[in-house]
């Protein structure tokens, strides 16, 4: 991890539009930002487009960045906003799916209390969420947005943001509980996966 002084220098060089500094910036932060883009898009191709567009915006508007804010948080917000714009552009080609359509079994509900899950399992569960719910959940839980900011960004009501977050959370808890229950029911596979994960 680069120190804050190195990061400041890198930012200044990017403000001076030095290509070498921009390349270094991309190398340093593209992995993290690409993960963010993947969470806010439906496919890897869309995430690549969002990442590219986001870096174009970052290099273009880096002069407006102020040092008193987190630079990584500033970049991630650009990625999220770009993903939202990208989603809206392609919204007419996608079918709306409500989270209520996703079934949940009684057994899943029994295991929702304290499921054990990994990052990959969580990402897999998030990927199954409908786009609107996924966006609200990721913005609130992962990126740290407030409900009024989410409502403003997505042009929805604050209560809609709250309800979608609640539903998304319940859904994820159920899915992760199901995954955990299945892993417990097949010990050999579960131990194998655990060994692989570790």
């Amino acid at each position: 991890m680069a120190s804050s002084e190195e990061l400041k220098l890198l930012i200044e060089e990017c403000k001076a539009q030095k290509a070498a500094a921009q390349r270094q910036m991309y190398t340093r932060f593209s992995g993290q930002l690409f993960a963010t883009a993947l969470r806010h898009t439906n496919s890897r191709e869309d995430a690549e487009d969002v990442l590219q567009d986001s870096f174009v915006k970052i290099f273009k508007h880096i002069k407006s960045y102020r040092q008193d804010f987190s630079f990584e948080g500033w970049m991630r917000r650009i990625v999220v906003n770009t993903a939202i714009t990208h989603y809206r552009k392609h919204l007419k080609h996608q079918h709306h799916q409500d989270i209520a359509e996703i079934p949940a079994t009684p057994r899943d509900l029994e295991n929702q209390s304290d499921p054990e899950f990994t990052a990959d399992e969580l990402e897999l569960a998030i990927a199954q969420l409908p786009m609107g719910y996924r966006t609200v959940f990721c913005m609130y839980v992962i990126e740290g947005y407030k409900h009024h900011e989410i409502a403003e960004q997505l042009s929805i009501d604050v209560n809609t943001s709250k309800s979608q977050l609640s539903r998304a959370r319940k859904y994820l808890q159920r899915v992760l509980a199901t995954l955990s229950a299945r892993a417990q029911s097949t010990p050999s596979t579960a131990s194998g996966n655990a060994g692989f994960a570790s």
Partner: protein, 232 residues
């Protein structure tokens, strides 16, 4: 448990914190950057070069504009000199015309033949007045170049313009006068003819005083001019 219960419980807060810890700092292998993502700013030298080029172009444009303006409105001395040169040429043309026309006039005065002289004297008054000193200067001693220059400088620009406008009349006059003068000259010998250099001594001309007395011709101006002559 109600579906529309949005209030976050402690369990939900723990769940969110765990999700955040797992995913917030996660990195995924990113694709290589696209073409043209890294834009190199123009080097300072290039910037200065471009600025210098722009300044040079601007200066050249200003110089061209200034040159065009000078050509459009001549105000310099060179322009005045050019006008004076043209005036000299006009005066020379009118000199020839008037001197040719005055040749028969002198003879007409002595022989009192009025027909050709009338035509010859039908010169507009301004032209006669303006050309008279020039004739004198010619008569004085084949006016030198410096004298011509002085004469040219003494001629105002307005008069030059008037002369230019009247030049066709003088040229027509010249042709007429030559026709009328050809007949009397044919019958005369050279001795009877007055010296052309001292043809018309004029009292008004300042150069007359510079002419030596011996070189003055013996001719005298007729006291009475034919009808129409000398009306100013």
């Amino acid at each position: 448990m109600k579906e529309n219960d949005f209030n976050m419980t402690q369990t939900d807060a723990d769940f969110d914190a765990r999700c955040h810890a797992l995913l917030a700092d996660k990195e995924v292998a990113a694709p290589p950057p696209g073409d043209g993502l890294f834009v190199q700013a123009p080097a300072p030298r290039k910037r200065w070069g471009m600025a210098g080029g722009a300044v040079l172009l601007l200066a050249a444009g200003v110089a061209l504009l200034g040159k065009n303006a000078e050509e459009a409105v001549p105000t310099s001395e060179a322009a005045r000199a050019a006008e004076n040169t043209e005036a000299i040429e006009v005066l020379e043309v009118s000199d020839v015309a008037v001197s040719d026309a005055q040749m028969p006039l002198n003879e007409v005065a002595t022989e009192e033949v009025s027909v050709p002289a009338t035509e010859a004297v039908d010169v507009p008054g301004e032209t006669a007045a303006l050309t008279t000193p020039t004739v004198v200067s010619e008569a004085s001693s084949e006016a030198t170049a410096s004298e011509e220059a002085i004469l040219a400088q003494e001629v105002p620009t307005n008069e030059t313009a008037a002369l230019e406008s009247e030049t066709p009349a003088n040229s027509s006059l010249t042709s007429e006068a030559k026709e009328t003068a050809a007949e009397p000259q044919a019958g005369r010998n050279a001795a009877e003819l007055p010296d052309e250099g001292a043809a018309l001594p004029d009292a008004e001309g300042p150069e007359e005083e510079a002419v030596p007395a011996e070189s003055k011709p013996q001719l005298t101006l007729p006291l009475t001019l034919p009808s129409g002559g000398g009306q100013h």
